[in-house]
């Protein structure tokens, strides 16, 4: 086990798969010679050469279209969309073409591809470079959706994503790039669709994703220490497929559900999980299900404002505490 940053784990995951399989190629803006604007892909050009690691024009539609066309004709491409906000300029290729083509062709087309992207806020980039858009992808049938919270998960889920024969949208969190964690040196392949219970409690279940995971864990510690509330913390990790069983089980044990989302309030993944629980575990609930989200506003830029907008440890603690009475 080596300690890697979340950032380094990205290249480690990609490299592991590129070594294994020649069909894996990688493209994006400034990803090759420059190693990516977040330095997540440093070293890939050097190891795999310009045939497999390609810089593109600023043409997101061409990037994602090329990814799809290559995937349907025998390659297993990985594309980078620099900021997840930019999905909006190529959403047709993602949501209407890649997601639907296998279904529409009754299975004639297989699309083993990964689109990885820097998601989320907290780094003072403003409303067009800070969005959490994992719910955009989750709402589209035909896309698998992953959002790791640790370096090890980055590597392991990247490998799983590359090996999947389905299109996977891989959300890396900008606010986590600098965080460190133990990552297996050897081949490391995780599983899509498995949530992780990071902490077991008996009073409440807190479900979180990506950068909200460390905050939820921290909040759980405080809730225990200062308020005697014992909380289970679940890292969802994969929105599609969704590990509904792990979540239901946690809620059945604790009787209360809290979700912590970075995306704006309406129609997030938290609403989906609340709805599933509200139908399937209704009689196990001891009280309201509460979503802790960014308010339904674009993300402001100034540090003072941004920090007060995205759910914080304090807000999680406060919300759970008040709601638990």
């Amino acid at each position: 086990m080596a300690e890697l940053t979340y950032r380094e784990a990205v290249a480690a995951g990609i490299a592991q798969e590129m070594r294994r399989d020649e069909r894996v190629v990688f493209l994006g803006e400034d990803v090759a010679a420059a190693g990516g604007v977040f330095k997540t892909t440093v070293g890939l050009l050097e190891e795999f050469g310009p045939k497999r690691v390609r810089d593109t024009p600023i043409s997101e539609q061409a990037i994602i279209g090329a990814t799809m066309g290559a995937a349907m004709t025998g390659l297993r491409p990985i594309a980078e969309i620099m900021f997840s906000d930019f999905f909006a300029v190529c959403w047709d290729l993602v949501a209407n073409q890649i997601a639907k083509t296998r279904y529409m062709t009754a299975g004639q087309v297989t699309l083993p591809l990964v689109i990885r992207t820097a998601n989320g806020g907290g780094v003072r980039f403003g409303a067009q470079h800070s969005q959490s858009v994992e719910n955009w992808a989750m709402a589209i049938p035909g896309l698998k959706v992953v959002a790791p919270s640790t370096a090890a998960d980055v590597k392991g889920l990247m490998a799983a994503a590359v090996r999947s024969d389905d299109p996977v949208i891989f959300f890396e969190h900008k606010g986590l790039f600098g965080t460190k964690g133990e990552v297996p040196d050897d081949e490391h392949v995780d599983e899509l669709g498995a949530a992780k219970v990071l902490r077991e409690g008996k009073d409440a279940t807190i479900v979180a994703l990506a950068m909200m995971v460390p905050r939820a864990l921290e909040a759980a510690k405080i809730l225990q220490a200062e308020h005697g509330i014992s909380a289970t913390v679940v890292d969802v990790r994969s929105l599609v497929p969704l590990d509904v069983q792990t979540i239901l089980e946690a809620v059945r044990k604790t009787g209360r559900l809290f979700t912590v989302e970075e995306n704006p309030r309406l129609c997030g993944w938290g609403a989906e999980i609340v709805s599933i629980v509200g139908e399937e575990a209704f009689y196990d609930l001891d009280g309201p299900m509460v979503r802790i989200t960014t308010p339904h506003v674009p993300l402001p830029c100034a540090d003072a404002l941004e920090d007060a907008t995205i759910p914080s440890v304090a807000r999680i603690v406060e919300t759970v505490r008040t709601s638990m009475g």
Partner: protein
């Protein structure tokens, strides 16, 4: 990268004329595509085809000329107006009519419909219903061919109206920069849906006048002359296969009917259709073949074969049941299913 923009508006010296066999093959294709498309029209009127559909009546020579020049493992990417292109690559006529009618025997088992005809086994890599999307997708296929060194070529068909959408621009630039084996074919039929292309386009030739913006040669071809199309196809596909990069071809043609099922095409100036009917690609080609000494009986035989094929396909498609509801939750994923949760 320097712009080297040569201009060429006709097949020139070095473009090989089709052989006599090739010509008869193309005539057969033209006639089959025409008869099948007319049958599709009839099936609408009988309300056996629901939803929408976009016929290629009048534009068959583009599909036939290119398909005749392609290798079986080359790829076609086309639009919602794709019945002809898909069949020209060898997709089953029953599969096409069945898909239009929403039957289980359809190429897509009824899941896709007329706008998405696909037959991967024949290299018909899909019909795409959102303007421009398939152009970057074709770029990706060409990239794959280049990467794997297979000498396959991606041929991508689109309309004049499509030249004004962003994906057109991005795809052509990237194809040229990466020097990919792709041929982009604009079928300029003078209209987007109901609006004349000239009313919404800054240049006269929506594709050809923009070739230089991608460092490409300016190529215009008579899209109603299958021989001419075939020659340009041979040349541009040949260049792509030889590693000489992409081409952009503008084929001038005309659709005889409306844009889609619902369209009576009243926006056309008087006499325009009649003038183009004079230059109907099948009429023109039939006359040329007769003039070259092909026996009337040979052509009539081809025509009779085609009509029989259409009748058989129609009957087979009609006999096919509607697709079973079990298909609804199939084939979202590569494992064959649609589960998004455990």
């Amino acid at each position: 990268m320097a712009a080297t923009t040569k201009e060429r508006t006709k097949p020139g010296a070095g473009d090989a004329e089709p052989s006599q066999d090739k010509r008869l093959e193309m005539y057969r294709m033209l006639v089959e595509l025409r008869y099948c498309e007319k049958r599709a029209h009839d099936l609408f009127l009988q309300n056996l085809i629901k939803g929408t559909s976009h016929l290629s009546l009048g534009q068959e020579a583009v599909a036939a000329g290119f398909a005749a020049a392609m290798r079986p493992d080359d790829w076609t990417f086309c639009t919602y107006r794709g019945h002809a292109h898909t069949q020209a690559r060898g997709a089953s006529m029953t599969g096409v009519l069945g898909e239009l009618m929403g039957r289980e025997c359809g190429l897509l088992k009824g899941k896709g419909g007329s706008m998405h005809l696909t037959d991967v086994a024949k290299g018909a890599m899909g019909s795409y219903a959102i303007i421009g999307a398939h152009m970057p997708i074709a770029v990706g296929a060409a990239w794959s061919a280049q990467y794997r060194g297979t000498a396959q070529v991606a041929v991508c068909f689109f309309g004049d109206g499509t030249t004004n959408i962003g994906a057109f621009h991005e795809a052509l630039n990237m194809a040229k920069v990466w020097s990919l084996p792709a041929v982009f074919v604009c079928e300029n039929n003078l209209y987007m849906e109901y609006t004349p292309i000239g009313a919404v386009t800054a240049v006269e030739h929506p594709a050809a006048d923009r070739a230089s913006a991608y460092g490409l040669e300016r190529i215009i071809v008579d899209g109603n002359d299958v021989d001419e199309v075939y020659q340009v196809a041979q040349r541009t596909i040949g260049m792509a296969r030889a590693g000489k990069g992409p081409s952009l071809v503008e084929a001038k043609t005309y659709r005889h009917g409306g844009h889609s099922r619902a369209d009576p095409a009243k926006y056309r100036p008087e006499g325009e259709l009649e003038r183009w009917l004079e230059r109907d690609p099948i009429k023109v080609y039939r006359e040329r073949l007769l003039g070259m000494g092909v026996a009337t009986a040979t052509l009539e035989g081809i025509e009779a074969d085609a009509m029989r094929k259409v009748e058989e396909a129609t009957a087979a498609a009609k006999a096919s049941p509607p697709p079973p509801a079990s298909l609804i939750e199939q084939d979202v994923w590569a494992d064959g299913g649609a589960a998004w949760r455990n």
